[in-house]
């Protein structure tokens, strides 16, 4: 039974962005909307003129859109997976982080899932998936797993929001009807806490295998073909590791941006960054191990088609991008995050941005070079993205930022009740837990 009640009069800093709107908010929203509108114009032009406005042409039929699809879905692993793992392991430092992580998942999944539709010359044909879909295709596995992950992670975002929505409702400063509607009659009674805690516990266990399945299935789009550079047995875990890696980096960027914009220094302390940075460092090393394993086995096998693609990546046209990827994903994070002196917030921000660039390059290096070197006797072709594709990528990034900004306008970006619960019960519960790990103290009677 709960021994504390969240207080809507405390933690003003967390409610301020919801209740006060400054010029900076309108300026940010205006800039983001302008970028999105430009991307919409470019997309409309693509629908009218067809895919010839992109850089894609046989045999390179997948370009920026699919690269960005894999990249965005990967970032979505930041949220629900990290939040669920931190909750499951009862990591006390999770409390100010989990909400931001969960929001990333919901927004980025929706944006990522739009990309295959952008890749269709005829967007109306998306209905064919539902009307004439054949489930032996990994593309359809993707549709099912991503939609299941979206449903589960949206519910997983909503459930821990309920007590905070009720706090905003009680403050009664704006949109009271909306918060009354969304709080589902929450009054914080012991019975309600019991129901909500049980539901969150169920969801945090359910979302982990769903999240892992999503990126595994995305890797199968590539790995289930016989295309050189794609047909690999380790692509499932390799993609999952890369997804968590890029997700943590995206979470850091969001944390640092909101910490600065909303003055959350008292909530997001250096210790939170340093704890999560250790996870980013571990994922960097794990990603390097998988990359090494993937390329070494391909090289050692020496299969001519595989070698052609591999050399194209590491020593051919894609070599500058490949080695930039290695520097961004391995050298920079390992140098900056291994040393306690360099593991500062600016150091973590630099590592996170380079990891995001590196992971985007990784997706590009997986998708495009294999298509530029087809097994079939197509003439090879060099893919150069068009302005339309670059605009839509920029538009997707702006949509992500806008989603985050709008969320923070309606809901606390840091979980208020979890922070208050941590203050009220965290210390006591942690002491109890640590004491339960320790062996019982035995008094030696040998000398007696």
């Amino acid at each position: 039974m709960r021994r504390f009640e969240p207080d809507s009069t405390r933690d003003e800093t967390l409610f301020r962005p919801i209740e006060q709107t400054g010029a900076r908010f309108y300026l940010t929203v205006s800039v983001l909307v302008a970028i999105i509108l430009f991307a919409l114009v470019m997309y409309t032009r693509q629908v009218v003129l067809g895919l010839r406005v992109t850089g894609m042409m046989q045999p390179v039929t997948w370009g920026f859109y699919i690269v960005n699809f894999v990249f965005f879905i990967g970032i979505s692993h930041a949220g629900t997976l990290i939040s669920a793992i931190l909750r499951l392991t009862q990591a006390e430092w999770r409390r100010p982080i989990t909400r931001m992580a969960e929001v990333i998942t919901a927004i980025v999944l929706a944006i990522g899932a739009l990309h295959p539709i952008l890749d269709l010359g005829r967007p109306d044909r998306v209905m064919n998936v539902f009307l004439f879909g054949r489930l032996q295709s990994p593309l359809l596995w993707d549709v099912t797993s991503i939609s299941a992950y979206f449903a589960a992670s949206t519910v997983y975002l909503f459930l821990p929001l309920i007590p905070d929505i009720a706090l905003i409702r009680e403050r009664g400063k704006k949109h009271r009807w909306l918060y009354t509607f969304m709080s589902w009659g929450w009054q914080g009674t012991p019975e309600q806490w019991k129901v909500l805690t049980r539901a969150i516990n169920i969801m945090m266990i359910v979302v982990v295998p769903i999240a892992v399945s999503v990126h595994t299935v995305i890797s199968y789009i590539f790995a289930m073909t016989l295309q050189s550079g794609w047909h690999s047995t380790i692509f499932g875990p390799y993609f999952v590791v890369g997804a968590i890696f890029s997700g943590i980096a995206a979470l850091f960027v969001a944390m640092i941006a909101f910490r600065s914009a909303f003055r959350l220094q008292a909530y997001l302390k250096l210790v939170h960054f340093q704890q999560l940075a250790k996870l980013l460092l571990a994922m960097s090393i794990l990603w390097t191990y998988f990359t090494f394993g993937e390329y070494l086995t391909g090289y050692y096998g020496g299969e001519p088609e595989e070698m052609k693609t591999l050399l194209y990546k590491v020593a051919g046209r894609y070599a500058p991008l490949f080695w930039t990827m290695v520097v961004c994903n391995f050298v920079v994070p390992v140098v900056l995050l291994s040393s306690r002196r360099l593991r500062t917030i600016p150091g973590i921000l630099v590592s996170s941005i380079t990891v995001l660039i590196g992971m985007w390059l990784e997706r590009l290096i997986i998708v495009v070079p294999s298509l530029e070197n087809p097994r079939m006797p197509f003439p090879g072709r060099i893919y150069i993205p068009s302005l339309t594709e670059i605009s839509l990528f920029t538009g997707a990034l702006a949509l992500f930022a806008l989603g985050f900004v709008l969320f923070s306008k309606f809901f606390p970006i840091v979980s208020v009740w979890e922070v208050q619960e941590g203050r009220a019960l965290g210390k006591e519960e942690t002491v109890e837990r640590v004491e339960s790990y320790l062996p019982d103290d035995e008094v030696s009677h040998a000398g007696a």
Partner: protein
């Protein structure tokens, strides 16, 4: 947690309750849509004579996942209604 402000406007509590129930109904309708889609793809695989086991296998995973998500939401909604101090308000 503080008691709700008695001076605050009621904002049509019955209308809000209807909207809340509607949101739960929509979740189950969505599940219905997923089931219909799965039945369609299984029928399609039967008529085309290809990979029926894959279609049935994936359906057997997808439908319980959505049912669980919808079930958890419904459980929370009705659990919160039952756990209110003043169920009539």
């Amino acid at each position: 947690m503080r008691a709700p402000d008695p001076h605050a406007p009621s904002w049509h509590p019955r209308g809000i309750r209807v909207l809340q129930i509607l949101s739960i109904v929509l979740m189950w309708a969505f599940l219905g849509g997923v089931v219909a889609w799965m039945v369609n793809v299984v029928q399609l695989s039967l008529s085309l004579g290809d990979a029926l086991t894959v279609s049935v296998g994936i359906s057997l995973v997808v439908i319980p996942v959505y049912t669980l998500v919808a079930g958890v939401l419904t459980y929370v909604f009705f659990g919160l209604q039952r756990g209110r101090r003043d169920p009539e308000s």
